[in-house]
Structures are given as C-alpha cells and as structure tokens.
C-alpha cells in the first residue's frame, strides 16, 4: 500500500517538474537548454519551498540537498561547470552533511515541534512576495549593458584568473575558515572537557 503511495507522490513530483519543461519545449518552441532550465528551475524552487515549509526537519534537509542539486544543474546550463562541481562538493558534500549532523545532535526526544511556523508566518509570506515582486520589477526595468551570450569557461583560464587576480581573497578565505574552525571547535566543545 505504502509503496503505491510513494509511487504516486513520485509521479506527481515528476509531473510538476516535467510539465513546465514540456510546455517550454513543445508549445513555446524553446531549445533543449530552455526546457532543461525550466525543469531544473522548477525543481529547485519547489524543493526550496519544501525546505521552508515541511514539518519534519530531516526531510527539510533532504529537500535542501535536492534543491542544491538542481541549482548545480542550472550552473551547468548557464555555463559554469566548475561552480557546479564546487556546488556538489561543498554544499552537498560538506554543508548539508554538517547540517544533518547538527539535526541529529539537536533533535529533542519530543521529536519535531508541533508548531512549525512562527506566529508571524503570514506577514513573512507577504514580505517575501513583495520582495520577489520588487526584485523582478527592478531586474526587468534594468538595462544590463551589452549582454553577450553564455560563454563556457575553460577551467585553466579560471585557474589562471584565480591565482593571478584573486590570490588575496583565496588566501584570506582560508584564514576565515581557520578562524571559524578554531572558534567553532571551542564553542561546540562540551564544557566538562578540559580546555
């Protein structure tokens, strides 16, 4: 019985994701990329919505991973494969896992709280919508100068740029991580352990 249920949900999910793609591809006559973009975008947004709305926080975490994956895909579409790779490694590999650990650590025996949302969920939603609208308006109202087409960057050029122009940030970021780790360890350490 449950299996059916899962299948059913999966089907619906698939539909949700593929419909826009089909719409774009078939009716609007877009390219494959367009369809891909539409699908991934939808997937990302939907899963993101799930992240912020689902009751069970573990599922939220999983949804987040999905959303990140979708984003990685979009990176590929837009022509930044390296970023996509980094996305997969850093986010899915590191951060998400970190978060999941944290979830395990902080799960109270009571399980997920009764109330998922703050009392102010409604105004929050409104604010979010308004923000979206404003951003959309601003974006569409702006002339972004001469916009070229997507260019796929060769990794070696990236490497050159990174180690020519961005040495300093690169080094500093490492310092940043070091600081975060030193402090993080101390804070997260249990009190009774000898410092």
């Amino acid at each position: 019985m449950r299996a059916w249920l899962y299948l059913f949900t999966a089907a619906i999910a698939g539909a949700i994701i593929t419909t826009p793609a089909l719409v774009v591809f078939v009716f609007a006559g877009g390219s494959v990329d367009d369809a891909l973009f539409a699908a991934l975008a939808t997937l990302m947004l939907v899963s993101a919505l799930l992240v912020v709305t689902m009751r069970d926080i573990i599922r939220c975490g999983l949804a987040m991973i999905v959303s990140f994956l979708a984003l990685a895909g979009i990176y590929v579409v837009v022509g930044a494969p390296l970023v996509a790779a980094a996305q997969v490694i850093v986010y899915i590999g590191a951060i998400s896992v970190l978060i999941l650990f944290a979830i395990m650590l902080t799960q109270s025996k009571a399980g997920p709280a009764r109330l998922v949302f703050q009392t102010q969920a409604a105004p929050a939603a409104v604010a979010a919508v308004v923000l979206t609208v404003l951003i959309t308006l601003a974006v569409s109202a702006t002339d972004w100068g001469e916009v070229g087409t997507r260019v796929r960057l060769a990794t070696d050029t990236l490497a050159q740029v990174l180690f020519r122009d961005y040495v300093l940030p690169f080094e500093v970021v490492s310092v940043l991580l070091l600081a975060a780790v030193i402090g993080g360890i101390f804070i997260a350490k249990r009190e009774d352990e000898p410092s």
Partner: protein, 662 residues
Amino acid sequence: MSMDLLIPLIAILPLAGFLFTAAVGRRLGKRAHLVPVAAVGLSWAIAMVVVFTAVTGGFGDEGHTVKLWDWIPAGAFHVEAAFFVDNLTAALLIVVTTIGLLVHVYSIGYMSHDPGYWRFFAYLNLFMFSMLVLVLGDSWLTVFVAWELVGLSSYLLIGFWYRKNSAALASKKAFIVNRVGDVGFALGIMAIFVNTGTLNIRESIHVLTSETLVAFPIPVEVIALLLFAGAMGKSAQFPLHVWLPDAMEGPTPVSALIHAATMVNAGVYLVARANPIFASAPEAMVVVAGIGIFTALLAASIAMTQTDIKRVLAYSTLSQLGYMFAALGVGAWTAAIFHLMTHGFFKGLLFLGSGSVIHAVHEEQDMRRMGGLARKIPHTYRTMLIGSIAIAGIPPLAGFFSKDEILGEAFKLGFAWVWAIGVVVAVMTAFYMFRLIGMTFWGESRVDKAVEPKIHESPRVMTIPLWLLAIPSVLLGLVLAWPGPPLGPLFGQHGPGLLAGWLEPVYAQGLEILGHHEAEFAIFGIDGVLILISVAVAVLGMVAAWRLFGVEIGGLRRRGDPERVRTLSARVPFLYRASLNKWWFDELNHLVFIVIGGRVAAFLWWFDTNIVDGIVNGIGAVTRRSGGGLALVQTGRVQNYALGIALGLIVMVVAYALMVGR
C-alpha cells in the same frame, strides 16, 4: 566754625549716636541714654546756630550748599551727596531738632523700665539722622534715601515691642503703605531726570519751570502728581492714611515725635519744596487741595467717636495734615508750613501728655476707663489743656493763627469750598479735643479700682518737656505771624509776618508763576470776618463738647451727659457707626488685599508649579514614556527582529526606487 562743617554735623551727630549705641548700648544698661541725648542736644544747638544764620539772611536767598561726595557718578546720571540749607529747611530744622530733643529727654523717664532701653534710644537717633537728612538733602535722590530711612526707623520704632503681634503687623503695614507712596515718588524722580537730566532739586526745578516752551517727554502735571503720591504716603493722606492709626502701637514718645511732629510732615515739606512744579501744574494743585481737605474731614469725623486716647490724637493728626495739604493745594504755602510748625509743637505736646496719662493709669489707653484725672496729674492736665485750646484754634494760641491763615487764604484765593469744609472740620476739631479732655480729666473717675490709688504724676524728666512744649504752643503763633514790630525788625524783616518773610524767597518763583501777590492784611475787612467765623465755630465745637462731656475750668463747671450722647448718636445711627468703624477702611482692605489678593497669589503659585513647571516635567515624562513604548519593539524573538529588518529592507528599496532616473 564754618557752615560746611556745622551743617553736616547736624545729621552726623545723631548717626554717630546711633552707631555707638547700637554697638555698645546693650552693655550700658540704664546709662544708655547719655550718648544719644547728648548727640541730639548738640545737634540741636548747632541747628539753632544754622537756623539763626539762615533766617538772618546769612545764606542769602539762594541758600547754602555743602557737597559731601559724588554719590552716583554714572555718566550722565550724576548724583551728589550734598546738604542744602535755606529758610524752609531752617523752619523744619527748628521743629525737628527741638521736638526731637524734648522727646529724647521725655523718653528717659517714659522708657526707664523697658528692657529695650538702649535699643529705643538707638532707633530714636537713627530716626533723627534720617529726618535731618531728609530736610537737608540737596538732591531728589538724597531726599528719597532719607525718605525711605525714616520709613525704616519708623518701622523699627512702631515694632519696638516686637513680641506684641499687633505691633509687628502695624510696623510692617506702615512700611508697606509708605512704599506705595514711595513708588510714586521714585517714578517722579525718574521723570524729573528724564525731563531735566539732573536730580539736583533747585536745578531741576529751574529747568522744569523756566523752559516751559520746551515739550517735555513727561508732562509737569504728571511729575507733580507723582511727587504728591509720595507725600500722601508719608503724610498719610487718604487713601494711604490707614497706617497712621495702627502706628500708635509704638511707644508714645514715638507717636509724638514721628507720627505727629516730624515724619508725617515730610510730605508737606516735599510739596512745599517743589512749589514751583506744582505752581506750573494747577490741575495737580486742585487734586492736592481736594485730597487734603477730604482727609481732614474724614479723619475728624472718625476722631469724634474713638475711645482710645492715642487714636483720637492720631486721627486728629490726620485731620490737621489734611489742613496743611489743603493749604498747599490752594497755594497758601506759608500757611501750610506755619501750621506744620505750630501743629508740630502742640500735637507733640498732646501726645507726650497722653503718654503721661497712660503712664499714670498703668498703660490704660481707653478713655472710658479714665476721667477726673485733672486733680491727680495736674501738670499733665494743664499742659494738655493748653494743647487742646491751641489745636481748637482759640486765639491767641498758636493753632488759631496757623489754622485761621489756612482758611483765610483758601477763601481769599477763591477756594470757597475748601474754606467751607475747613470750617466744618474746625468745629469737629474743637469738639473731639474737648471730648478727649472731658472724658480724661473731668467728671468722676472711671478708673479701675485697683489702679485708682496708684495714680501718680509723671517724674520731672517727663513733665518738664511738657511745659517746654506748652510754651511754643502758646506763643509760636504770635511770634511767627505777628505782622511787623517788635519782632520783625529784630530779624530784619518787614511785612505780613516773620515766617512769611523768611519763606518769601523760597516761594517767590512759585508765587510768580501762580500770579499771587500778598494781599494787604485787613483786620477790619475780609480777614476780620473770617477770623470771627473761625473763632466762632471753634467756640461752638468747644461748647458742644462741654454740654455732652462736661467741663471743669475754674468757675465753669458742668457734668457730662452720657444719656444725651447716646440719644444723639442714636439719632444718626449710620454716621455714628461709620465714624466708630472708621468708615470700614480696615474691613475694605481685609477684603481686597487678603481675601482676593491671597487667592490671586495662591493661584499664581499653583500656576507656577502646575502649569509652567508642569509643562517642563511633562516634556520629560513624555520623552521617557515614548522611550518605553519604543522598547516594546525589542521582543527578544529573532524572527520578529528579522521581520523588522525585512520590512526595513523593503522600505529602503522603495526609497531608492523613488530616486531612480533622477
């Protein structure tokens, strides 16, 4: 010795006496009077020298000025501390120093048992100093200083027995009511300065009266009235008369010296001194005359029913001062000063006498508990009788001459109404004086049985001054008013009378402005008639008093008739009650000043604390509350904060959006 040294000494000696006594008097005990009395005596002697020099023309018509130092050298506003003596001053000096000296002597006996003996003499000397500066002052401001200083010393003396609440209140009342007048005086002085640029009395008068063509910022009438306001305060003219009766709370010598003979005359002196100003402001003079004569009538009417011997005299003083102002108002300045001098002596005499009486009956002042004292205290009786006859205006005593001159002048100068009222007042005067004598000295004794046996005549030190005052009360009129020989030539004078001759230069300018000229004295003409009338009315009042309150002069004997008094007073109930209650002036004051005034003051304080300050504190409170209100935003919930930030972000986006494309 040069006058430049003598004249200041007149004032400085009492001052020295005051300072000395104030400093060490406490330790001198019963010898405390020596220095002050000596000081005054000395200053009297010097004064007499100065007076003689003055009246024999030693200073010429312009008088003599002694500059002491530059008091206020404020640029254009330059005031010297200087003394000035002319015949007018001299006339005042006679009264002040003489009576002052006698009162000092009298006080040695009168105050002998008082714990504050030394204090009393210190104050008396302070008063003498102030009064002398007042008459000697050369500039308006100097006079004003003295003006206030006499106020101070009278304050101290009225409140001498400070334990008595009534005394304390009376003294304060006297000072404050005087202040009311002083405000006028002060404003007058300012006006004078603004008009003339100087405060020297004669210079300023010269400017004010000579350059009448120049349009002054302040009209002369205003100045005259302002000065008169000051005079009203000191001389207790209606409506500022309320303080004088209360001032009787002070020791009797004080009443005699300050509130009969000297200080209260200051107003008269001031107006006389400023005569040209008044002369060039006729309207003001009418006001003066009106207020003067009205005060005379009002006071006399009250005096007729009072039972406190000192109060009767006090109201009589008011009434007589009224006469003087009436005289000043009609332009009979000589007469005013004349009456001032005579009145000074016989009223001083009467007060000291009343003091002696009160002494005799052990501090009893109510005449209803006296009577038949004539035999027990003969000296007092005789001297007071003389005083009464003098004030009643029976020739040839002093009062007759001066009062008759006032009435006569008033009539001759065309102020018939003043004359008419004056005559009525004359009747009343005679009446209440002999009522006083009758109730006090004649008939059977009503004295408290306990006191009765202990009644005794006062010691010499008190009776001698009485007699010394009785002499001028009898002769002064003859001396000063007798036209022509033998006295005139003695002082190198000719004409209508000694005093008139003396004061002639003082008034010359004023008379010239008024256009008066001394009419030839016609004993077989209008003057004679007027004399007859005033003598007649005096007698009338006297006889009326005899019929009601009895008389015991030589063969003339008659018992008082209280029944008659009652029926008569019942016949005019309103007038009687009004007189008895002093026309309810005190009640009026109480209503206006305490009830209403108190509310106003209290209200203003409430206004200050609740409105003015309330607003200030209110602002503070509002600020703090708003702070508390704003703090509510800080709920402690991160999500609320975040929402706030998000909203702020949205607002900011909008704000910037508004500037797009600018």
